[in-house]
Symmetry: D2
Subunit: 308 residues, 4 copies
């Protein structure tokens, strides 16, 4: 079943192809300017830092639903090995096998295609088994550090966490922006909190996965209007799941990654940060969230740090 | 052959065991205070950002010398897969297998032991095959962001890069500190540039590996005196290789990781940053360099960003 | 809690240490002589062949209970890649990550130790992270081909499959031997059918794992008396699970692998073979079941073929 | 550059598409009948067994030339782990990551396509990243056991090993068949010895890879005339490398795998077997060489056993 007209209408309104030239491979990261970064640094008032990543371990968030997206398997290849003789310095060394999108991660622009196209009109089949993504591989998304703004849609709605059937659209984003007390600007990285990760932290992986609140198909226009650089949240699927429309799966992925060329992040643990923001009423911060530069990667784990 | 007395003498002088309590697992990261972080933010003057990580790919820096420390093997598990039917949104997904210390990385504190002990006196055999590091695993090293200072020992010596037999000790560090025009302080992350990575960038992996300039066994006392939080450089082995003394291999690893409890980083590409520092004469910056939180990991890839 | 006296008593009676010299690393495989193999070939009457391995795939028998024993993750590293130009011969290539004992496999002798010892008195700590098993690694177990005898304990008991609390001991083995109509001899490989794998084939992985019938702690003496070369069955844990005695876990593993030095196999699909044996009343056959020679491996996948 | 006419002419003469029906996925393995297997068993005269596989280890035959075809990385996930309490039975467990065609292996039929087609006319794009080979995956190639015949082309030529520029064609195969003293028959598995693996065993991986003797583009017709079930040899590339014609790479792969639907094996160590055959003048034997059933696999490691 082809994508519905509603999707194409939105796609047209948020499309960024050609905006930074025909060769561009990083999309909205272009919006992070030196000035943006100076403003991000100016957000550091207390110096308090927050870790936003989940631990990377075999007992991770994946349940096997996405074939091949395996939780990190961490194994030791050396254990206190005295390479240079007995009673010398000994080393331990390890190896990991993991899906690049298994835990707290960025979706790279090449993660999704539709109608045979990737961001900026590149052909979908330029992603290959032997090279990965020739265009817009996650290794092109460098130096990801900007002003972060927390949009706590759960708190704005007066709940601990949004219900599983709640689609976060322009109204919810604007309400959370108002709560934040700062207008989202060009080049910002927006963190949308739904509270859904509480389900995971309570030990229920399947309940975390679904049903899950998440972004609505109407959200991308809001982000596009403000020209944000990237968006992340605290859910597994990023957008509401099951989807809003029966015949339209993963529309937000397609709008953000393909049309806008915008990184999106999942499984970010925003709980501690949200408490601190609620406490002092300041919802902006410096955010360092650089992906690992996997050549040709469709995504990457990331260990973001927010600094208030 | 047991470790020589000279080693034990230095070890005693730099030892931090118990300094942050008997349960501490993060060592000198304790030195990064909120105040340090505010000072780091204040270093952002232009907003210009620098990527310090090498790309993660099969053609990486490892040559097979360290068994099991394999270069990243990146494979696709889905290619434009239309999970929800024909002509819908399609996804690509990937998996990686890699040594955690294969490319630009942090050595975690559990990477090295000597005399049966890890940092803070933990037993070396607390690192196991099934759990990895029970104490001081790299997932404990969170929120690594501080003031960075570049000590460009090559430039201070008036050369493009240090020769392969050059051990960087207190004299070289102090000379570079003078060039930097800022005194290294408690909680700083120090980046020591030797220029050796130019050999790698020119395509010679084996020449990069060895012979290689690097830190001298006399360097840890210098770092200890200034109470730095972490040190990274632009070489494969971090310390000079082959070593200064025939009967003492990897002493700097043992002093930093075991005695001091200090993260150390390798294979950091400091070339572009160094040019910029030389250009404007400012060698301090905000440095975001958070490891991926692999539970029980002896190390982690890192994608550092410096902001001037 | 130390191993009970009952275990040590049996261990003494079945122990093979030193029997084939102090350097021996293959144990009861020594019992497969040229004469045994000639007898195996003489069992081929119809030429009909049977595949005894389960498919190796992500959706395998492992459920995550044994940490690290991951189901096979199969990924493509090339897809119809025309390495030598357009319109030439194209190649596809793949990579797998898997636990060596994830599916149909042999336990190697180094898979288990007790009281600090492996088979033939080797120290348990000779198995290391960087080398694997220095002694009795599965690569030493070469040329595994012999006469196979099916002991269908389910059919001998007149049931489709044994109940989950049934321990297969000497009485059950002797009854199945009588049904087989051939006496088990030195050098034979014995396949013990319980029918438990029907639960797996019906789609219930957890029910397959547990509760499960399997070999009793009293079975090893029976195998030792007949000097068999190896034993395999159609269960996940090989021995009855949960175990017969609360304070004695995995005793059969310890007796077979450590004391006797005997390979044991798990997750073998014996259903089709058993039907054919029941049909013609002949329970002996040629069995080719050579493990993959992983250097230092504690086990190996195997794709056995029985020929009647 | 499209495939030359000469290739298409041969392809037409050896093509087996449709021969075993439009749904067939195993090609010439259909030629192994019960009668063939009985004849194979009758070849067992002494009961002496030969291991034909190289060990599977990190220091394997791959040199990085084929991207992603990595040597086996074997790591321990448990080391003498006492899961059930102190002083109990302890287990060691391991994981491997490897290219399925890294060492001694079978090429599966889906390993190669040409002109957009796989064996039996299946579309090449039926091999996908998420499923692997939908048709003719190596898991379909079950119960591979037949009569083996050694064609020792080196000995027939009176040399220790063939020179690197020697293409083995019909003349060489017929001469070796005459030396063997048995006519190759339908359903046989032919092992072609060139002696090239001596270079590897002497420690020269690069010299082993190239230049290498191997099968000529003219060999497939010889195999087709005799209707053999499969062919393996003792080289890395199977066919002569560099190839006989500048504009035709891997033609033997395309003829065997795509046109004939015939498994082909590489890196088989035939040295010990060849000595024994030369010694007693008998070049036929029972050959058990069943691949591991990787679902969707383009190939598989194999640990063949020959029994004379």
């Amino acid at each position: 079943m082809p994508l519905p007209q509603q999707f194409h209408d939105i796609a047209e309104r948020v499309n960024n192809w050609g905006r930074w030239g025909p060769e561009d491979e990083i999309g909205t990261l272009n919006l992070i300017t030196d000035e943006t970064v100076r403003a991000a640094a100016a957000c550091v008032r207390t110096g308090r830092r927050f870790q936003l990543a989940l631990p990377l371990c075999q007992d991770g968030v994946q349940t096997g639903v996405v074939p091949g997206r395996v939780n990190p398997l961490h194994t030791m290849v050396a254990l206190n090995l005295e390479m240079f003789g007995p009673d010398t310095v000994a080393t331990s060394d390890d190896v990991v096998t993991m899906g690049l999108q298994a835990a707290t991660h960025w979706d790279g622009l090449a993660h999704v295609s539709h109608s045979g196209r990737l961001y900026n009109g590149r052909p979908a089949d330029s992603v290959t088994a032997h090279e990965g993504a020739r265009f817009s591989g996650v290794e092109k998304a460098t130096r990801v550090l900007s002003r972060g703004v927390l949009l706590d849609t759960a708190r704005a709605a007066g709940v601990e966490r949004l219900p599983g059937d709640k689609a976060v659209g322009p109204e919810e984003l604007s309400a959370a922006e108002e709560l934040a007390g700062t207008r989202v600007r060009a080049g910002d990285i927006v963190l949308v909190r739904t509270g859904q990760i509480q389900v995971l932290l309570a030990g229920d992986k399947h309940g975390y996965a679904h049903p899950s609140p998440g972004l609505s198909v109407r959200a991308p226009e809001w982000f596009h209007a403000r020209d944000v650089a990237a968006v992340a949240n605290d859910t597994l699927t990023f957008e509401i799941f099951p989807p809003e429309m029966d015949d339209l799966w993963m529309p937000v992925h397609a709008l953000h990654l393909v049309e806008m060329g915008m990184l999106q992040g999942q499984n970010w643990n925003l709980e501690e940060l949200a408490l601190a923001c609620a406490d002092d009423g300041v919802y902006e911060f410096l955010l360092a969230a650089n992906p690992e530069p996997f050549t040709g990667g469709s995504g990457s784990p990331v260990a973001p740090v927010a600094v208030k």
